[in-house]
Amino acid sequence: MSNIHRDRVTSGRSKGSGPEGDAGKGDELEQRLAEHAAPDAAAWARLRRELAERASAEGLVDVAFERHDSPLGPLLLGATSEGLVRVGLPAEDEEAVLEELAERVSPRVLRAPRETVTLARRELDEYFDGHRQRFDVPLDWRLTRGFRREVLRATARIPYGRTASYREVATRAGSPSAVRAAGSALATNPLPILVPCHRVLPSSGALGSYRGGAAAKERLLQIEGAR
């Protein structure tokens, strides 16, 4: 993200200036006035941190998120005041995930610390190290509703190291014939890994699809000794 403002600085303002052209194209005085570079990286990071802290203290952050390194790659962890609301997998476009949160929860999305996220980080580290079989971090289910939510709730009950078929999950969610709908519920799971949709496999025994890519699914099942 940091190269965005650097672009703006070096190329001037291309949008919004209209027919007036860029501010830096005038005479020498105008060029001197328009000269500037991106802020010092360390100072900018400090300002961002202070902003996040003050905004959090004033209750202005509706969705706090942070990135978390994992063996699968960087995860995005987003939390509301109620719990963890979104886990973005490395295969997902981070910008799209943040836009989804802005649209469906609140536009007040900010990179900021949050206790729930800190807890999720620790539990995920333990999980990837093979020391944790279930997650205790509170979850906010608001990004899924209706039958899809039932499917995900049923999925959340599949024990560590075990797998279930799409039909089994559909049945447990109350609708044995809705196998296809169960599949799309799992494909749009907002809380992957914690709600273990990777434990749901086609009855053929194949790996099946996964929001984070087949390799990530295989990896998670290997960690759990299920494959």
Partner: protein, 159 residues
């Protein structure tokens, strides 16, 4: 255009934050630049969900900053900073090292010219956006920039 949904505030900070910080430094002075930046961002975040036109977010943000900077500028006028302030390269600061002596002159311009010139060159706003921030016509915004520049040229030429 106004029906677009609002981007995550995170994006606003990354996209407009650096220019906003430069604007605050030039308007409010280095000592109060960070306060001006933080107060602007917090006020913007508070009001953000009610913003109706996602396309006007930059002008909206700078209009908040302009009000914060005027407060800071007035406080500064009451209690002038030491002369050492005229040498902004003397120590590291979060904003870019720009032409400190020149910007000290900009800060000494009459309020409207100072604000218009700063919005134009540090905020990279169009004349129309400047008009929006300063609540003037486009022509008045253009004139404020023009007169500010003319005055700066005259002062520099006098040396």
């Amino acid at each position: 255009m106004s029906e677009r949904s609002l981007p995550p505030f995170e994006r606003i900070v990354e996209l407009h934050g650096p220019a906003l910080l430069r604007f605050c430094a030039a308007q409010a002075g280095r000592e109060r630049a960070e306060d001006c930046f933080q107060e602007t961002m917090l006020a913007a975040l508070r009001a953000y969900p009610e913003l109706r036109d996602a396309g006007a977010v930059r002008a909206w943000l700078f209009s908040i900053a302009a009000r914060k900077a005027i407060d800071a500028h007035r406080a500064r006028a009451r209690a002038p900073e030491p002369v050492a302030d005229l040498d902004p390269l003397a120590r590291s600061e979060p904003t870019a090292p720009h032409d400190g002596a020149l910007w000290a002159r900009v800060r000494a311009l009459p309020e409207k010219q100072r604000q218009a010139v700063t919005l134009r060159y540090l905020g990279e706003l169009s004349h129309r956006e400047i008009a929006g921030v300063m609540e003037t016509s486009d022509a008045a915004a253009r004139r404020n920039v023009f007169e500010g520049l003319a005055r700066l040229r005259k002062e520099i030429g006098r040396e």
